[in-house]
């Protein structure tokens, strides 16, 4: 479903070019949950940004659903809108929207009718165990609940690929475990590929496969 080959990325630090990613290759199948591990500065976030079509300046080739990955901003926006879902470390929910409205957002962007948005959002929030919190705003929810809303938001439109950046980093261990289980369950149910950057060994252990990065290169790749 997603194939990336020989990905490289340099940053300019003063007059010097620093390589953050060098010759990184790999692939993700539909319904597969892959952990991206490695120490800080290893290039995890940069790879996530590239594979999430957020950063278009890189070397190498990416194929998504057997098509070349977009290289222009409008095409990348369209891809993210139609095919991708995102989960962030700090949840990034819109504070003025209720849990239900937050989950409706990606569906709204896809042009679903309000009725369809409502039905899908309620079903998704029920699935993540927040049926009683539909009308709560993020400030009224715990960290774990907020991340579950964020997961519901990312998965509600059944995207082909979900990019998750440290989804358990801001959570206590109980909430983190709930989020890990939920993500795994939804990934396998929906058939979405999930790429998770994580430091959390429990999260990595729950994934189907782990890609370990070090100094911008793949150090090892292992199945769970």
């Amino acid at each position: 479903m997603l194939r990336f080959n020989n990905i490289g990325k340099n940053y300019a630090v003063g007059k010097q070019q620093v390589a953050v990613l060098q010759g990184v290759s790999g692939e993700l199948a539909a319904g597969e949950m892959v952990a991206l591990c490695g120490p800080s500065g290893s290039g995890k976030s940069t790879l996530l940004q590239i594979l999430g079509a957020l950063d278009l300046r890189y070397q190498g080739e990416i194929e998504f659903a057997a098509k070349p990955f977009p290289r222009t901003a409008p095409a990348a926006t369209l891809l993210r809108r139609q095919q991708l879902g995102f989960i962030f470390q700090r949840f990034n929910l819109v504070p003025v929207l209720t849990a239900e409205e937050n989950v409706m957002l990606p569906l709204q962007l896809r042009g679903w009718s309000t009725e369809q948005q409502l039905q899908a959002a309620r079903a998704m929030l029920t699935q993540v165990g927040l049926a009683a919190q539909l009308q709560q705003k993020p400030a009224a929810l715990s960290g774990g609940q907020q991340q579950r809303v964020a997961i519901a938001r990312a998965m509600v439109s059944r995207p082909a690929l979900v990019i998750a950046d440290e989804p358990t980093a801001s959570l206590d261990s109980v909430s983190a475990q709930q989020v890990i289980n939920l993500l795994r369950e939804l990934c396998h149910q929906s058939g979405s590929a999930v790429l998770v950057a994580t430091h959390d060994p429990r999260m990595a252990a729950s994934c189907d496969r782990t890609i370990r990065l070090h100094d911008g290169r793949i150090l090892m790749e292992a199945a769970a």
Binding site: L54, T77, L79, F88, N92, T114
Partner: protein
């Protein structure tokens, strides 16, 4: 109810109240700007209206004369007068739009009490003119000229009304006789004794030193002519001015007696000058206020955009187009400006009502002796126009502020703290 308001507007409403203090401050700035524009413009409109009324009460909506009469000096009095004024009057009165037609004989000369003389500017008028003058003419002593139908009217006692300063300088009071001297239309000198029936004030010092009124036939008798200088045409509504002017040109102006038709606004020089001055002043004030609103809103919205950088990044990551994100901020600014416009409009309306109750007097303007009540006209048109201006300014400020936020790379926006 919830379904009637689009989700985008409900979202904009909620975003506005994220930072209540800042939004209230922006709202206040917009409301003050709308209040200032509508109040100042309302004062201007009120002034224009009173000057328009003054001009119309003086000479009617249309002034008919021989071509060039208003610009050139006559060789002898009434040399350029209208000969068939009665026929013209009858033709004019046949039109439904015409309320009244007032002939006038304008003349000048010397007035004497037997011991002392003074220069005067006289008008021969029909007594019905004074019903149209309203507050433009204050009769302080005696009464206005009597119509011939009045039981008190005496044919052997032609009456005269004197302006207050003229009467004072000649030490004249009601019932005194004076002699009017003037050149006749054939160039000879003529004199006529008239009895003072009233003393009036126009509120203009220069006119109060020189002006007097006599009956039309008295003036014609003094000048020994049946002509009149002008015909003042009073219309049922001022809006008929253009149409009637055209009709007079087409139907009444002939080769034998060509007519010049002067609409009230062309002969009302004071009105024109004041309007020209006020329009410029109000224009500059409007631009300054628009800039103030722009600066305040741009600052507020820039802060709001900066605070919501991560949110903008999140929406962009989810695939929202830049125009959709910018549109959200523009809706917020638009909503804020509409609220401000509403508050400002209500404040102006309340001020207008308060002024009607309080009756605050303004000092006399330059060249006048009488003050006037301070009134502000609440104009829906001005309110709508200023609201639209402020709306555009706010939306522009939002567009500029949000554009900066949206142009930030998504990866930077997502990690913004």
């Amino acid at each position: 109810m919830k379904r009637l308001i689009p989700h985008s507007l409900r979202l904009a409403w909620r975003n506005i109240w994220r930072n209540q203090r800042r939004s209230l401050l922006s709202l206040l700035v917009i409301a003050i700007a709308i209040f200032a524009i509508t109040a100042i413009a309302g004062f201007g409109l009120s002034t224009y209206e009173s000057l328009e009324q003054a001009a119309i009460r003086t000479n009617g909506e249309l002034l008919l004369s021989r071509p060039g009469y208003l610009k050139e000096q006559e060789e002898t009095p009434l040399a350029d007068g209208l000969t068939d004024s009665q026929q013209l009057t009858a033709q004019l009165l046949s039109r439904d739009e015409v309320k009244q037609v007032e002939p006038k004989v304008l003349f000048s000369g010397l007035i004497s009490n037997g011991q002392k003389s003074a220069i005067y500017l006289g008008q021969g008028v029909t007594p019905s003119l004074f019903d149209l003058q309203g507050p433009m003419l204050t009769v302080s002593q005696g009464h206005a000229l009597l119509p011939s139908s009045s039981p008190r009217f005496k044919t052997d006692e032609p009456e005269i009304m004197l302006a207050t300063d003229l009467a004072q300088s000649l030490k004249l009071t009601i019932g005194d006789w004076v002699t009017l001297m003037s050149t006749t239309s054939s160039g000879a000198l003529n004199a006529l004794d008239v009895k003072v029936c009233g003393i009036f004030s126009t509120g203009v010092p220069e006119l109060d030193k020189r002006q007097l009124f006599v009956a039309l036939d008295t003036a014609q008798s003094l000048l020994q002519s049946q002509r009149v200088s002008t015909l003042s045409v009073y219309l049922q509504r001022s809006q008929y001015t253009g149409g009637m002017s055209q009709w007079v040109h087409q139907q009444l102006s002939t080769a034998q007696q060509p007519l010049e038709v002067t609409p009230w606004y062309e002969s009302a020089f004071f009105y024109q000058k004041v309007r020209s001055l006020y329009d410029r002043i109000f224009g500059v004030i409007g631009v300054i206020l628009a800039l103030v609103v722009f600066a305040a809103l741009f600052n507020t919205l820039t802060m709001s955009v900066t605070e919501r950088t991560t949110e903008i990044g999140t929406l962009a990551a989810m695939g929202a187009w830049p125009r959709e994100i910018i549109g959200g901020f523009m809706r917020e600014a638009g909503l804020l400006s509409l609220l401000g416009a509403l508050v400002g409009g209500v404040a102006t309306a309340l001020l207008c009502l308060s002024l009607l109750q309080l009756n605050i007097q303004m000092p006399p303007p330059p060249g006048r002796t009488q003050g006037y009540p301070l009134t502000i006209l609440f104009s829906i048109d001005v309110w709508l126009a200023s609201s639209l201006l402020v709306l555009l300014v706010c939306v522009l400020a939002a567009w500029l502020a949000a554009r900066n936020g949206v142009n930030k790379p998504i990866t930077e926006a997502l990690t913004y703290v």
